[in-house]
Symmetry: C2
Subunit: 212 residues, 2 copies
């Protein structure tokens, strides 16, 4: 039964979303499905395989961009979709950093990015590099945001500055209140994407801009 496998993945994803990756144990997943832990092994060769399946499951949820949009719209849509995915499944997305994009779903996403870059006029020998650069940033940003790297821990910037002598952190001191200003991660993400889009335009060069 192939739907048994799906049932297992659904249970695992639910557990991950509720209690983090640590909550995804073979026993817990099995109990949620209503079987014993060993009953999972006919469907997944082990826990690693189950986590791989989880990644695939999450990736399959990625919406494909409207092929009629401009390359900017398509890239932006994919980037925002990844970020939303990270917010929806914060504990699963970090796994993407340790697993190559081998599932059909993942390869299709890569292809869509290739296509957008080609449409932008990026030379063939730069497409793969820029795709990795873009996806690395988008994934890194999303994971940083939900994983806590961007958070300030228990102390705000002012306390952090206080724990070292001011002379040791001249730039922090010089920036002063800019570091305490309220901030929207969404707006920052948009600004970063705008910058990267600019970079793509530069890589495309003065050649043929939109229609080629």
């Amino acid at each position: 039964m192939a739907d048994r496998r799906q049932e297992i993945l659904d249970a695992a994803l639910a557990l991950a979303d509720e209690g983090g990756l640590d909550a995804v144990s073979m026993r817990a997943v099995a109990q949620r499905v209503g079987v014993t832990a060993m009953a999972l092994y006919p469907h997944f060769s082990g826990k690693e395989a189950l986590l791989d399946g989880l990644v695939g499951q999450v990736l399959a949820d990625l919406p494909r961009p409207d092929p009629d949009g401009s390359w900017q719209e398509r890239l932006s849509a994919m980037a925002h979709a990844v970020r939303e995915l990270a917010h929806r499944h914060p504990s699963v997305v970090p796994l993407l950093f340790s697993r190559p994009a081998v599932t059909p779903d993942a390869v299709r996403v890569v292809d869509a990015i290739y296509q957008a870059l080609l449409d932008a006029g990026v030379p063939s020998d730069q497409v793969a590099r820029l795709e990795r650069m873009l996806s690395t940033f988008v994934l890194g940003y999303a994971v940083s945001e939900v994983g806590g790297r961007f958070s300030r821990g228990t102390l705000g910037p002012r306390e952090r500055r206080g724990q070292l002598p001011g002379t040791e952190l001249p730039a922090h001191h010089q920036l002063g209140s800019w570091l305490d200003a309220p901030w929207s991660w969404e707006a920052e993400f948009d600004a970063d994407l705008a910058d990267l889009t600019q970079l793509i335009r530069l890589a495309a060069g003065p050649g043929q801009p939109p229609g080629a």
Copy 2:
């Protein structure tokens, strides 16, 4: 004894480098130091704290850039230092994604980046954002490289293309041999950094270029 703590961190780092994060168990670390597992608890409140210490330990190895270099040189030096760190301690560096930069060492690195961006002429309200963008990319690239995201799994690009109908992957098909070309991750990293440097110059605007 403070050197006991250091001894523990050294043992933990050695285990992580030799056998990955999974090899870092309280019992294994303790055995390597020559004590029992519970003897670690006066020095670290638990495994989480030990891993935090491990991150700090690794971060402390980051060389500080020569303050007399240009801002480009300083940024490049820091970026390459992070990448080398990831190659030296591949299993520890991914932890940086889930922990804010709170140790004095980490804050000093952030300050050095702030300073380089200020020296480049980046406006104050953009410095923090660009620092996060840069560090996100550098960290993401390094982690992707050592974590396997960039690897091709067991199949090369050609095999990967083969597993989906050609009509499904038009851009892969169009790019063809460019995807099979030999590649140096170091060279790609340099190219990406050059692009990002260009972005910083744009953010600095036509204002006062090097000396302000």
